[in-house]
């Protein structure tokens, strides 16, 4: 692992322009991924995690626009329309495999197309490579499956095929946008195993986006918790689960059923994720935060460094504003 991060997102801002307002879907998100590392981005719907993923690939569509910050891939800023140069370096796997595959082409056709574009492979060579890729992602009887259509595959198999397609361009970074959400638990376990295996074999860096804390715990080395367009906490996975520093992270972990006594009521977070329509002037979690105090409603918290590289954007940890950090 070199010191230079593979991908570094700094102060990313993505704004959606609607008729009535500007929505800051991503509002100053900063994080890094190093080679061979798996970094998680976890948050609820509307938190801006998928928009972040799409920005890295340059896939933000109208009315959304990247309005600030930089996305550095090996030191080169992608936001200056450099995506085309790195098409093969970063690949994405979407949530619903059946939507990511074109139903009128065989799996083979689709992988071969990716191979033609990124590796200039054609004909028999491309077919052989496609079969190899399918075998790599654990599809049995690949020589036959390569000629099948997406509807002939089960959900898990289809997601494997999508991953094979993403690998066709031999990427350094794989962005997985809720890759297991549409799948059953046993299939989810297979896909998580597969990703871990691929990572070990090919030294892939993975950005793992999900709303499922359990998946994050299993699959990632580092976690960024995102809330209303902002990263509120970043930490090594184990540390985060042991001692969540931000009240939101804490509440999120507590509200997962199965971790608490079934006879007790589940702890909840009242209210809903707000839609950020302007620059932050306060802590966006304050209205729902059980530990909010006066300053939370008037100061936008900055990230405070905590022990072991981790940080949290919460005034509770700001020594100047509260008695600071006593919760760790």
């Amino acid at each position: 692992m070199s010191d230079e991060p593979l991908l570094s997102v700094r102060d990313l801002e993505v704004v959606f322009h609607t008729e009535r307002e500007r929505i800051h879907a991503v509002d100053g998100v900063t994080f890094e991924i190093r080679e061979g590392q798996t970094v998680g981005l976890v948050g609820e719907s509307g938190s801006g995690k998928s928009v972040t993923a799409r920005s890295i690939l340059g896939l933000v569509d109208e009315p959304g626009r990247i309005e600030g910050g930089e996305i550095l891939y090996r030191g080169e800023d992608l936001t200056e329309d450099n995506w085309a140069d790195h098409r093969g370096d970063i690949a994405i796997v979407f949530q619903d495999p059946t939507n990511s595959l074109n139903p009128v082409y065989t799996i083979g056709n689709q992988i071969e197309e990716a191979l033609r574009i990124h590796q200039d492979l054609r004909g028999r060579a491309a077919t052989d490579r496609a079969i190899e890729l399918l075998e790599d992602v654990g599809i049995p009887d690949a020589p036959r499956r390569v000629d099948e259509y997406p509807h002939q595959l089960s959900g898990g198999m289809a997601q494997r095929a999508v991953i094979a397609m993403a690998l066709a361009c031999d990427p350094d970074l794989l962005v997985c946008d809720e890759p297991t959400t549409a799948l059953d638990v046993t299939i989810q376990a297979q896909i998580l195993d597969l990703l871990a295996e691929l990572q070990a074999e090919q030294d892939l860096a993975i950005l793992f986006i999900t709303h499922d804390m359990g998946v994050i715990e299993d699959a990632t080395d580092w976690v960024n918790v995102i809330y209303a367009g902002e990263v509120v906490e970043r930490a090594p996975t184990e540390a985060l689960f042991d001692h969540p520093a931000h009240p939101y992270t804490r509440a999120l972990l507590e509200s997962i059923p199965g971790r608490t006594d079934p006879d007790e009521r589940l702890p909840t977070i009242e209210g809903e994720v707000p839609t950020p329509t302007g620059p932050a002037t306060d802590c966006r979690f304050a209205p729902r935060c059980p530990e909010a105090f006066e300053d939370c409603r008037s100061v936008a918290p900055e990230h405070v460094s905590l022990d072991g590289d981790r940080s949290a954007a919460c005034l509770l940890h700001d020594p100047a504003r509260s008695d600071g950090g006593e919760r760790q």
Binding site: R144, M157, D184, Q188, A189, D193, S255, I256, P257, E272
Partner: protein, 504 residues
């Protein structure tokens, strides 16, 4: 949450098959529910878990009467729900409720919340108030009828003209007058309700919205103005409108965020306590089921493979599928200690389930025959080979392949040999086994995949491949469908752990 021994619904050997509606070339039916026995007792929550395609939703729909049963009985109050005609089914549906998975989809967005919540009431012309008179009397009046025995009584009328209204009704006693006429043989009671039915319905809707944590102002809004969690509350209010005793919750929180999930689950638990409801909670998320369910039924390929009190099942699962499911819960939420069990492949096609145990194709604790002494990974490779043959046999051959085969261009055979050699590359098979495999491969290369699969099954199959296990009584109100419950075999968990240790 004490479960009494009195089933509200009793499902007995229920089968629900989906047939294609086409006139020509009918495929075998989808065996969505394939012989399920399940009692749902008054006041309890039964969690029904399984993967997609396991038939859990179909089971719920069959109980409600939304899907037609192919065979078997769903008994409620001594009647068979599957035999109901349209009117009886309507009457049954009046007494049960259903909450659907996707709050974006389950509310008609052209209707206001008020209309949505009132719709079940309107559909059943609610309320026709049931009247009980102290003593023997004839009841007259519009919108009322005498209460049948054992029925909930809405209005109780004394022979002095005193009226008591059931608490749950949005009706005050002042709005009801009862005139008692003693001139005939038996006294006649004339009941007049001052409040119109529409008004009672509207107030009932206000009540319901209040119960699920919404307010009166929401009555006039449209679904698209609400968030997912709020929409699910509306769906719950609608399901409870007719005061059902039994509610089927079909993945009610799967489409929601964790923090919203927790609130909906709390709401469901509160409502159960307040109204004495019985739930069938369908879910694929085992953590949620653990939290909410008193008993859990695990479904696989149309069968309930394990059934028992939730805590006991989670602490000591008897069926290998349950073990695998629990171990697959990501993160620290899993009660399984040790290495995660990753099941191979996907569930078989429910049009063509395996002849023996439905789980045999993926089972990590499958019983192996004594004929060969092979390491577990070799057994798995052989199993996988059989799955390959079966899949090939079921796959529709493309026109190009058919022509190639016809003119003798044996491309498939070529691929097949590659696949087989890949699969069995680093396994040492005894000569007898090897020759069986070779013979099967030749059969498959010749186009008869079915015979190849059959040959492998004959040679390497075990009891699990031949026998559909019956439910074994595991004590403590538990049953499971696994041959390993028989005394002669090792337990499921220990087998799995032992096999995991053998693996590199």
């Amino acid at each position: 949450m004490t479960a009494r021994e009195d089933p509200v619904v009793s499902v007995q050997s229920l089968k629900t098959y989906y047939h294609d509606d086409s006139i020509v070339g009918a495929k075998p039916p989808v065996r969505a529910v394939d012989g399920v026995d399940l009692d749902i007792r008054e006041g309890e929550t039964v969690g029904l878990v399984g993967e997609s395609g396991s038939g859990k939703t179909t089971l719920g729909r069959t109980i409600i009467g939304l899907a037609d049963a192919t065979d078997g009985v769903v008994e409620a109050d001594g009647q068979d729900v599957t035999e109901f005609d349209a009117e009886q089914a309507r009457d049954w549906q009046r007494r049960v409720g259903m909450v659907f998975q996707d709050p974006e989809e389950s509310l008609n967005d052209r209707m206001t919340i008020g209309e949505i919540v009132q719709e079940p009431l309107k559909a059943h012309d609610w309320p026709v108030l049931t009247v009980a008179v102290e003593g023997d009397a004839t009841v007259r009046g519009s919108g009322v009828r005498p209460a049948e025995p054992d029925e909930t009584v809405d209005l109780t009328v004394g022979l002095d003209g005193d009226v008591t209204v059931r608490d749950e009704l949005p009706l005050s006693a002042d709005a009801v007058t009862a005139a008692v006429d003693r001139s005939g043989d038996a006294p006649t009671v004339d009941v007049t309700v001052e409040k119109s039915r529409a008004e009672i319905r509207r107030d009932r809707a206000f009540d319901l919205l209040d119960r699920v944590g919404l307010s009166e102002q929401h009555f006039y809004r449209y679904p698209h103005q609400f968030s997912g969690g709020q929409r699910q509350r509306i769906g719950i209010a609608r399901a409870l409108a007719l005061e059902p005793e039994f509610v089927v919750l079909d993945e009610p929180v799967s489409a929601l965020d964790v923090s919203v999930q927790a609130r909906i689950i709390n709401l469901l638990e509160d409502l159960q306590d307040e109204m004495g409801l019985t739930y069938l909670f369908i879910a694929h998320d085992l953590s949620i089921v653990r939290h909410i369910a008193d008993r859990v039924a695990v479904m696989y390929l149309g069968n309930v493979v394990e059934l028992g009190p939730t805590e006991s099942v989670y602490a000591d699962p008897h069926h290998p599928y349950t073990v695998s499911l629990l171990s697959a819960i990501p993160g620290s939420g899993s009660p399984w200690t040790g290495e995660r069990i990753t099941l191979r492949g996907s569930p078989p096609n429910p049009r063509d389930p395996p002849a023996g145990c439905p789980f045999a194709t993926r089972c990590p604790a499958k019983i192996r025959p004594d004929d060969y002494d092979l390491p577990e990974r070799t057994w798995r490779a052989l199993d996988e080979l059989r799955v390959v043959f079966r899949t090939r046999a079921r796959a529709e051959a493309s026109a190009a392949e058919t022509i190639k085969r016809l003119i003798g261009l044996d491309v498939a055979g070529q691929d097949l040999r590659e696949t087989v050699s890949d699969l069995l590359a680093d396994h040492d098979l005894p000569p007898a086994a090897q020759s069986t495999v070779d013979a099967a491969v030749e059969l498959a290369a010749g186009g008869d995949d079915d015979a190849a699969a059959e040959q492998l099954r004959e040679a390497f199959g075990s009891r699990c491949d031949r026998e559909h296990p019956e439910p074994y009584d595991g004590g403590e109100d538990r049953t499971s469908q696994c041959l390993r419950q028989e005394a002669e075999y090792d337990g499921v968990a220990e087998t799995i752990r032992a096999r995991q240790e053998d693996e590199p």
